[in-house]
């Protein structure tokens, strides 16, 4: 299956964006994002804490809908999903 992962703002600068991943069946959002972020320590550290959990301010969306951080470890991705990961918003 193919899943698109989009990072925004500082996370995009550190990790790139619109990354097409091919996770195995049953892969959770947190596992998918971790696998991608692991390639660059600074990007990984911006998103995950020392225990490998999403930092509390990080916002995760699946197909435009918010996924609460505690649920990201048990929410499984599906073919065609778009996962977005970004820091607190600052528009206006």
């Amino acid at each position: 299956m193919t899943v698109k992962v989009r990072f925004f703002a500082r996370f995009r600068e550190l990790l790139g964006t619109d990354i097409l991943a091919e996770p195995g069946t049953g892969t959770a959002i947190s596992t998918l994002v971790k696998d991608i972020a692991q390639h660059k320590k600074e990007g990984y550290d911006a998103i995950f804490d020392d225990n490998g959990a999403f930092r509390e301010f990080v916002i995760v969306m699946r197909n435009g809908k918010r996924v609460e951080i505690p649920d990201a470890g048990k929410t499984v991705v599906a073919d065609g999903d778009e996962i977005a990961v970004f820091p607190p918003v600052a528009g206006g």
């Binding site: 989009r6 925004f8 703002a9 500082r10 995009r12 509390e56 301010f57 916002i59 969306m61 435009g64 809908k65 918010r66 977005a84 970004f86 820091p87 607190p88 918003v89 600052a90 528009g91 206006g92």
Partner: protein, 143 residues
């Protein structure tokens, strides 16, 4: 109603004219501009589809709560210079209390939940403007 994320500037005068629907007694315009905070430019980035959907929800809720007759929200992205428009909100209502309250509601909700980010560019590089609300984006609006 016009709700957009775009690079181009807008004609605020034309928006005011279009906002004067039957029954309008007040039009309030909010124009957020790039402030001269010792920066060279500002770079704005959006998660566009979600940002527009979120602003549409905010506009609908503002209309419901404050009896607005018309709402436009245009949020610009890309690279903007000091003094340029960032965000234009135009609302109309029968009376000024509703128009002011509706406009204020919209800007405060945008700051909480719309996925847009600003980077201040300086002579030495740049800095991302910290968000005011870590947990707002994508959450249902309070009723």
């Amino acid at each position: 109603m016009t709700i957009k994320v775009q690079k181009e500037d807008v004609d605020i005068g034309a928006l005011i004219t279009a906002a004067k629907k039957h029954g309008t007694g007040a039009v309030v315009v909010f124009d957020g501009i790039v402030r001269d905070d010792d920066i060279t430019e500002m770079e704005l980035e959006a998660y566009e589809d979600v940002a527009v959907a979120e602003m549409e929800k905010i506009a609908a809720e503002a209309t419901r709560l404050h009896n607005l007759l018309h709402v436009d929200i245009i949020h610009r992205i890309g690279r903007l210079s000091v003094g340029e428009n960032i965000l234009i909100i135009v609302v109309s209502a029968g009376h000024r209390p509703e128009a002011y309250a509706g406009s204020r509601y919209i800007i405060e909700e945008i700051k909480k939940s719309v996925p847009i980010w600003k980077k201040e560019l300086t002579k030495d590089g740049g800095r991302w403007v910290p968000g005011e609300h870590g947990h707002g984006a994508g959450k249902p609006l309070k009723k």
